[in-house]
Amino acid sequence: MVVSSVMVTEPQTCCMDEHLDTVLRRMHRLGLRMVPVLDVAGRVKGVLSTFSSLAHIVPDYIVSGDLASVSFAPDIGLLRQRYTLVADKCVAEVMELAPLMVAPGESLLSVASTLVGSGTHDYALVIDAEGRLSGLISAGDVIAALMSMTKDEK
């Protein structure tokens, strides 16, 4: 089985110069955790995820220092203040620049090992030879395909 037979086609996308707040609200409304970011030619430029947005909201000095955690600190209004600043940026400033990418003709084994090997991503963008977005494939899509195969065998 290959990626193109499992992937989700025509996923929601956004543009690099869109206002982050607008895109985040759209993602919230549609229950999405990530959207691919495309240029005007439809080529993939990155991914905007709730995780990458949160990573910009949490002050870098907290996560990059030697603080084991900040459970000792009360809510000092820092996140709200930082959200206002970050949400005012455009998507290009916050998006993840190196998302996992796979080809439509790759095997399920290949994409599954790519997802697991990345250690952090549970989805990959499916890209054609011109760098345009063909679809999305997630760990859940792979598991669903495996379940359907097992069901057929039973």
Binding site: P59, I62, D66, L67, V70, F72, A73, P74, I76
Partner: protein, 448 residues
């Protein structure tokens, strides 16, 4: 003698060993300052060139590595790597801020004191890595600009690190080369440090103190920090405090038992590695061990190894002896003038270049002055001048010490970058004042 003959014949490109060694040293210095390559790689390349170029034999190169310095650094890094997981440093910082009820100037003073004290017993970089993020969190809560706090922490870390043998890498190198004990450093350098620190704080108050203010509401936020939550592992904390007490106690008495500080630090590190996972399964012990080893700053360790070999190469060719002669000629062999020259040259140089290679070069130069001044014992004030100059000089500019750059990195990431010239405008004059104080201290205590 045979080895030396072979050495000189094998020098590449027909260059004299003296020029080749000096060229390698200058290249390593230059590239380290340019910060385009990893400094450990550069120093190891330089060390390799000293051997491949025939300046040193492999045996001479290995003999040039000061394993006392290497052992002491590695041992302390292991102890710190384990201790920092306990959260005790954050605990102390929060307690300190709450002790002054969140008053902005009081918080600045207390965090500076905490930084200085920790820096005296741990390395400066680790101290600021632990304290700077808490400081930024506190200044965010107080609603004050972080620059005065980070500025004072940079200065405090370098001042505190000057006080002890283990506080700053130059002191570790000087102590090892000159056979000066932890106790010697405590008795000779520590007494002047509170004076330097208080004078520095006074000038910081003049520059920033009067403008620091916070609302009552923000101060209450500080008071609602729960320092107990910062402690992550109470049993490990107890083990760390026990081992730290044993190690510091060990340092103070090591000399009497003819033990080198490296022995104490490495024994303490081994004991803490053993205790940290005592009673846990083998897999947990292995995992914890690997995790601690990953925290050790191997770049610094290998930088030192390469640097010792490079400097040994230069020393071997007689270049450093020549430099010592020139310095003595410049000061007319006057001891007081030589002490002053070493103090001030070290301070200015350390403000501008990495003080570790500088001190590595100065050590054999001072040793070469021994015969002129009546033997190694007579050189002791020169060692204190070098330590005070090299450590306090690091306060002069943002590139003067590694800790400065670490704090600058945090400031940048918190959205309050520290400009090189702004820092220098505030710090260079202050550094010169601390060197004047050090000069007076050296004069009154050793030279008058």
């Amino acid at each position: 003698m045979v080895a030396e003959t072979v050495v000189h014949q094998s020098v590449i490109f027909g260059m004299q060993p003296l020029w080749l060694a000096v060229a390698i040293l200058l290249l390593v210095y230059g590239f380290v300052m340019a910060e385009k390559f990893n400094r450990a790689v550069l120093s190891l390349l330089g060390a390799g060139m000293m051997v491949l170029g025939g300046v040193l034999t492999q045996q001479q190169a290995v003999a040039g590595v000061d394993f006392n310095t290497i052992g002491l650094l590695t041992g302390m890094m292991v102890i710190v790597a384990i201790s920092q997981k306990t959260g005790m440093f954050q605990y102390v910082a929060i307690r300190a801020a709450k002790a002054v009820k969140g008053k902005p100037w009081g918080v600045l003073v207390m965090l500076s004191v905490v930084t200085a004290v920790f820096s005296a017993f741990l390395d400066n970089v680790t101290t600021v890595l632990l304290i700077a993020p808490v400081t930024l969190l506190i200044t965010d809560a107080l609603g004050v600009r972080p620059y005065p706090y980070l500025f004072s922490q940079i200065l405090a870390s370098n001042i505190g690190g000057t006080a002890t043998l283990i506080g700053d890498p130059p002191n570790i190198m000087i102590g090892s080369a000159a056979h000066l004990s932890f106790y010697d450093f405590l008795m000779n350098l520590a007494p002047i440090i509170p004076v330097v620190f208080l004078v520095t704080l006074f000038f910081i108050w003049l520059m920033f103190g009067r403008d620091l203010s916070a609302t009552e509401e923000n101060r209450q936020l500080i008071m609602s920090f729960n320092e107990q939550e910062a402690i992550k592992n109470v049993p490990l904390l107890k083990k760390c405090l026990l081992v730290l007490a044993l190690v510091i106690g060990g340092f103070t008495v090591a000399h009497q038992f003819h033990l080198e500080p490296a022995t104490i630090a490495m024994s303490g590190a081994a004991l803490l590695l053993l205790l940290q996972t005592w009673g846990e399964p083998l897999s947990a012990k292995e995992h914890a061990y690997e995790s601690v080893m990953a925290e050790v700053e191997w770049t610094t360790i290998f930088f030192f190894v390469g640097l010792f070999i490079v400097v040994t190469g230069v020393e071997h060719t007689g270049a450093i002896g020549w430099l010592a002669e020139q310095t003595l000629a410049m000061t007319d062999g006057n001891f007081n003038a030589t002490v002053a020259a070493i103090l001030w040259i070290s301070a200015i140089a350390s403000a501008l270049i990495d003080n570790i290679p500088f001190v590595a070069t100065m050590i054999p130069m001072i040793q070469d002055m021994g015969p002129t001044f009546g033997g190694p014992d007579a050189l002791v004030p020169l060692w204190w001048a070098l330590a005070l100059g090299a450590c306090l000089g690091g306060n002069g500019t943002l590139i003067g010490a590694s800790a400065n750059l670490i704090v600058a990195g945090f400031a940048q990431r918190s959205g309050h970058p520290i400009a090189f010239m702004v820092f220098m405008k505030h710090a260079f004059g202050l550094m010169l004042i601390t060197i004047v104080i050090s000069h007076i201290y050296l004069y009154l205590r050793y030279l008058s």
